[in-house]
């Protein structure tokens, strides 16, 4: 039986505020999973605490709503204990980057084979509107009436710095792009880190309006594709040249990729760390677009794969080889010097 999006929905009422970007992300995930052809029981959604972390309750899969910031650690145990599971970790900017920052960087460097979706709305929603680690400097909130004093974290550069093997960004309401990124993330073996710009219409409405509004999006969003030049703009007449020195905006005659390349626009290589770091930083400079897509991807051994190999002795050997348990234990107990009394 072919599964449909509704097969991944639970009977629980979804309790996000009406208009929240989380609804879009939930719908996108529920649309995506049936395309993979695997039964619901093979998925585990694991989350921390926050608005985003209610996500597992709404997925008709296995789900674990854990404690604040610790979802990467729980996911490590789940995936390592049973590598056959498809583990999806759901987190937010506060959960993943503030209280759970340590676990996030270690999950990324470990390269645990999971998909990690970070819903970034640049605000604490569930606790009713304090500034978050991705809030801009000077942001006025209940807990920062004179403006936030902290520099924001860029989740993409953090992930790259933590040696993530897959780093991407997409947008809550862009279903087409989200599904493309989910497919890439799911295909990737290792921690697939996906930042999702998500609008909190109650406490931080419009924070991503430049890329969410139909009118402004084309001139503010750069859709990154591997092997393609970095071109954007309503007229597709602007591009980015990446170098060790940073990024440069280039204008050219629209309509032709060759012209863009000739003008110096970079053909993006997602396996190139220099490209990834430079691209991740471009929107620090006013006038530069926000990149969306896969920033970086490399293939390397997964944590759970290495653990399983050490555990079983080899890749082929199966875990539950029948053996004489009591003889095995006797051998262990009697290792070292023993002596007989009586």
């Amino acid at each position: 039986m072919k599964l449909k999006a509704k097969d991944f929905q639970t009977d629980q009422d979804v309790r996000w505020c009406p208009g929240c970007g989380d609804y879009s992300i939930l719908a996108n995930v529920q649309r995506f999973l049936p395309t993979l052809g695997s039964g619901q029981h093979n998925y585990v959604f694991v989350s921390g605490i926050g608005c985003s972390s209610r996500f597992p309750y709404y997925m008709n899969t296995y789900g674990f709503h854990t404690i604040h910031g610790r979802a990467p650690a729980l996911a490590t145990g789940i995936k390592t204990a049973n590598p056959d599971l498809s583990v999806w970790m759901i987190s937010g900017d506060g959960d993943a980057l503030s209280i759970g920052g340590n676990h996030l960087i270690h999950a990324l460097r470990r390269n645990l084979d999971i998909v990690l979706l970070l819903f970034n709305n640049r605000i604490y929603g569930l606790t009713k509107g304090q500034y978050s680690p991705t809030s801009e400097v000077g942001k006025v909130t209940k807990s920062s009436p004179f403006g936030s004093v902290d520099q924001p974290i860029n989740p993409i550069t953090l992930a790259l710095g933590a040696n993530a093997s897959f780093v991407a960004r997409t947008l809550d309401i862009d279903a087409k792009h989200s599904l493309e990124i989910f497919a890439e993330a799911n295909e990737h073996r290792g921690t697939a880190f996906v930042e999702i710009y998500q609008n909190c219409n109650i406490f931080n409405d419009g924070t991503f309006s430049s890329v969410r509004e139909r009118a402004t999006k084309p001139d503010n969003q750069l859709v990154v594709e591997h092997g393609k030049p970095l071109i954007y703009g309503k007229e597709q007449d602007r591009g980015i040249a990446l170098s060790a020195g940073g990024a440069e905006l280039i204008s050219f005659e629209p309509g032709d990729e060759d012209k863009a390349i000739a003008a110096g626009v970079t053909v993006y290589d997602r396996h190139n760390r220099l490209h990834a770091h430079a691209l991740a930083e471009i929107d620090r400079t006013p006038g530069f677009p926000v990149p969306m897509g896969v920033f970086y991807q490399e293939q390397r051994e997964t944590f759970d794969g290495i653990m399983q190999r050490q555990f079983h002795g080899s890749d082929d050997e199966k875990p539950s080889e029948p053996h004489d348990v009591d003889a095995t234990l006797s051998d262990l107990f009697q290792s070292g010097d023993t002596w007989m009394v009586g």
Partner: protein, 626 residues
Amino acid sequence: MISNQELAGSGRSARTERNSVIIRFAGDSGDGIQLTGRQFTNESALAGNDIATLPNFPAEIRAPAGTLAGVSGYQIHFGSEEIFTPGEVPDVLVAFNPAALKANLSDVKMGGIIVLNEDAFTDKNLSRVGYEQNPCDDENLKQNYRVFVVPISRLTKDALANTSLTPNEVDRCKNFFALGLMLWMFDRPREATRAWIDKKFKKRPELADANKIALEAGYTYGDATEIFDLSFSVKPADLEPGLYRNINGSTALAYGIVAAAQKSKLSVFFGAYPITPASDLLHELARHKRLGVMTFQAEDEIAAVCAAIGASYAGSLGVTSSSGPGIALKGEALGLAVCTELPLVVVDTQRAGPSTGMPTKTEQSDLLLALHGRHGEAPVCVLAASSPSTAFSMAYEACRIALKYMTPVILLSDGYIANGSEPWQIPDPSSLPEIINRRIDKTNNPDGPFMPYMRDEQSLARPWAVPGTPELMHRIGGLEKQDLSGNVSYDADNHAKMTALRAEKIARIASEIPPIKIDGDDNGEILLLGWGGTEGTLREAQRRCREEGISVSRLHLHYLNPLPADLEPALRKFKHVLIPEINTGQLKSIIRDKFLIDAKGYNAVRGQPLRSSKVVEAIKSLAQPH
């Protein structure tokens, strides 16, 4: 013990037979003291003695050489009689330098033997610890003790004159010289040490040879030198028949966990973060990946417990381990394991606190933390090991209960149990209790949705439906559960019911506890009640009282939550209940609180095991009230 008279008058010709002897090796933490002590222990165990050991080392790995801060010690109590503790007053002190003498002299039995490494008693080392006179020449010292001044470093150097080793490498062999000398003095074999050296220095045969030469040189020195007019023999102890090995608490804990993995036919996932004195459990388990234990060195204590919980959720048995500071950090995650009712074993190898406290020193001060150290009403099962041997059985028991009841179990050990060693009667694996678990692969509610919180009637354990099982998809988490369905619920009556159910489930574990066994009369004047690593001390105190004609009964608890159902009536049969603890009275508070029994405490928080002599004093003061 060796009497002063014997020490004074021992002849050279024959060995004096002793029932038990206490030796302490002491030196710089880089002198190989722990290794020397462990080898002496092994040889004594193989000679058939009962033993108890107490390593005592500084937290600094290599404190400045020759300073009091850097003194490391290892005490061995061995005998032909039952040995309950590492002893309090060494009969023999082997001091590798002035700091080691200064730090340990006051403990040594008056008239006891002191062996000094003369070569380390240099002006510089003497002044560093404030000796104005060289103790090697101190007549006053020689009046009170049998002092043997041996140029250990020089003799080692002479013995190794023909090797190609560097002077530093030669000097590092001196602990084997001292070991050889002590093995001679107490008529121990040397085979196990030789074999150990060969294995340890497999890749450096020249070092293996040098250490064996030093060992032999020390032994021969004792045998041939006129200055040693004392030697002793200690006959094998009268242990219960069986196969034995020497084991320390950390290894025993690890074996208990491995045994649980094997017998339960589940994988164990062990998550830990390095911390003294708990790390040895991680080290030992990391060697046994092929025996069904997957070890994970996490980024921090919280990740260690959370990964273990995740693994339990996915169908393994999650185990985590730490000491007090780490257990404090794990508190929130333990609450999650209580709420989600997943099996989890948490080993707390206690150390002296608060805060960083004294990491290498022992204490029993986490009992209340284990019982209550979580927010909300979050009951867990709490067990305690009392010795290296019981560390094995209680680790196995912790795993068994966690799986049968779908609950976190905290197992309390301590630095003294972890590092101490004793002969272990190797159990027959087929005699270990069966381990059942709550795994299901079919729904428990054929007419409706799967019910993840529909409980087993007797144990109240919920079913364990692990991800990957078709048709049993469900969501769990830290939000309060609706009874049966496990859905999120804020209903007031439901919260009250779930709180009661979680408490009742833990209470029912009491049915697992074997009937209590009182050592001595089951009624009378004084009951000595203990838990954890003080068991040997309390047995020793009881024996001394009996020798003096004071009748004292003794009971040691291994189940702290729930308490044994037959505990209260047993306590009521005594006029006094005395609870000695290495804390300020934690079990005492619990006994008073639960039973309104006017228990008395004897408490000493010195970072050291209790002294049985002090416990005897406490017993006497109760027996003869002023």
